[in-house]
């Protein structure tokens, strides 16, 4: 489909410039090293290949989280959303988690979603914390609006930071947003935000070279692994 750049200038929302997120590496409970880095817009089609199988997993609200994440990433790819970013977690080059959000203005951010593809390793916690680190420590924002679709998210964010309830509506019509302030973040940082920088070159090169992704069945099994008889 031909793109009319003059029309695009009308349809594309403005973008607030964002400094890059410096990659870091985290040691997980099983000893594996997870590289957390910023995804580029061009990475979206590959990332969506891992999000796609999650659309059909009801367990733990994976379906709605991935459906909304899919839309958000596609919107970013197709220049139809303001100031969105995406951070990903990779182990041995494989995509194990995705977080995204956007900037509402210079001082207020909005957390979108968190999707962990490998479970039982606090990948969601680590990546969510990385998002907050990005908003506050690197972009210099003061407040972030956050919502949760799943009880796991509620426990890890609303309860653990903790967040303040607000009456600010959810972007997509869900329950009202909660707020993380700079003050709460800084108090919680030492127990919730970890990672080593810089990432050792071989690890970073592997993560940057390629986003490897597991096949649909493996992803489904990792997320919704059914115990047999």
């Amino acid at each position: 489909m031909p793109i009319d750049m003059e029309l695009e200038m009308v349809l594309r929302p403005p973008q607030i410039p964002m400094p890059p997120y410096p990659p870091k590496v985290i040691t997980l409970a099983n000893g594996k090293q997870m590289v957390v880095r910023q995804a580029e817009r061009e990475d979206v089609p590959t990332i969506l290949k891992s999000v796609h199988p999650c659309l059909f997993i009801e367990r733990d609200y994976y379906d709605i989280v991935s459906a909304r994440l899919y839309g958000e990433l596609l919107a970013w790819y197709r220049y139809r959303v303001k100031s969105e970013y995406c951070l990903i977690g990779q182990i041995d080059g494989y995509l194990v988690g995705i977080v995204n959000g956007r900037l509402e203005n210079a001082k207020v951010g909005m957390s979108y979603h968190t999707l962990a593809i490998d479970r039982g390793l606090r990948i969601g916690s680590h990546l969510f914390a990385a998002k907050m680190e990005y908003h506050i420590d690197y972009i210099g924002q003061d407040e972030i609006l956050i919502v949760a679709e799943s009880p796991i998210g509620f426990r890890r964010w609303m309860v653990e930071y903790p967040l303040e309830p607000t009456t600010i509506p959810h972007e997509l019509g869900g329950g009202d947003s909660w707020l993380l302030t700079r003050e709460t973040y800084l108090k919680a940082k030492s127990r919730l935000v970890v990672g080593d920088r810089p990432v050792p070159k071989p690890l970073l090169d592997e993560a940057m070279a390629d986003i490897k992704f597991a096949d649909d069945d493996t992803i489904r099994e990792h997320i919704a692994g059914l115990k047999g008889r």
Partner: protein, 396 residues
Amino acid sequence: MRDVAILGVGMLPFGRRDEDTLMDMLAYASMKALDDAGLGNGSVDAVYVANMGGGMLQHQTSIASSLVDRLSLLPAAAETIENGPASGASAVKNGMLAIASGYYDTVLVAGGEKMREVTGWRATDFVATMTHPQAEYPYGITLPGMAGMFTRLYMEKHGVTREHLLAISLKNQEMGTRNPYAHVEMALDREGIYDSPHAVVNNPVAADPLHLYDLCPVSDGAAAVVLCTVEQAKQRAKPYVVIAGFGQATDTHTLAEREDPTDLKAVTLAAQKAFAMAKLKPSDVSVAELHDAFTILEIAESEHVGFFKKGEGGKAAAAGKTRLGGQIPINLSGGLKARGHPVGATGVAQVVDIVWQLRHELPENRQVKNATVGLTVNFGGFGNNVLAFVLKRVEA
């Protein structure tokens, strides 16, 4: 009093079993045990079902009556047994006494729990209902909280360190990777959960001084055994397992009323009675399943049953004495830590695993060579109702 043998055993992999109802799990595990006993088309005289939470979590009561109907075991006698996390061992004990008394010849004992049907907060509350309703429960105390308070004192009095607790977590999760029935099949890395500064997120404090990986998971699952007379067991012309001894003891309900809260009197007494009945000693035990809902309990129980002196259990674990091939292998199933802890099922699953050990039916990476005597300890409440079994292999 007649001797009682174990004719058949079976269990389901523990974990999150969204696809099964509580009755499904009890039924599947029971059929496995009945088939293993050669009674797949047969009948039993009585059924005992261990379950703690059916009424609260599944809004279902009279579970044993439902199971006999589901399994077409009518008109067998049936009872549901609730003794907190020791429900499983209590059900085995009742089944055993039923046969020992001479009134019944064949008994099915099944234990099951479906804890993941509710959110973590509600599951935590359900478990906390074991605590004293006026003196403890209202404060928001949880079982990990009781264990945290106990651990603090045990560390102070007996010199247990976090390194000792770590040895238990690492050992049991490693064994979980070798057990296809285990809830958690992920080996832990010492750096990831302890040495690295990232451990603060990977292994956060749960109930100080206990961390996440000092606690067992919340699980769904079921296990079953078929008990019989020794005559029936002999008919199969192969080595079988007998319940050589059992013991049970209780202690004060509240932790505050124990003269010395680090003294698990009920564990000591239950084990002493079991060994006395079996005419055996702790040093005769080839392999043990001790109730490690919290890593501290494996250490404390290993001392209270007589494997190690007080204060030596943690050091022994750190030195590898309780690993496969060590002086006294403990929790080679992965224990509650990795196998999981569907509360009503645990006491039965412990017996199942020891039976496999004593029959020499396990793969080499879990099997204690020439195992002949096994010990189980099932810990109810926070140590206020404890059962122990000594199981013995009998050659054909």
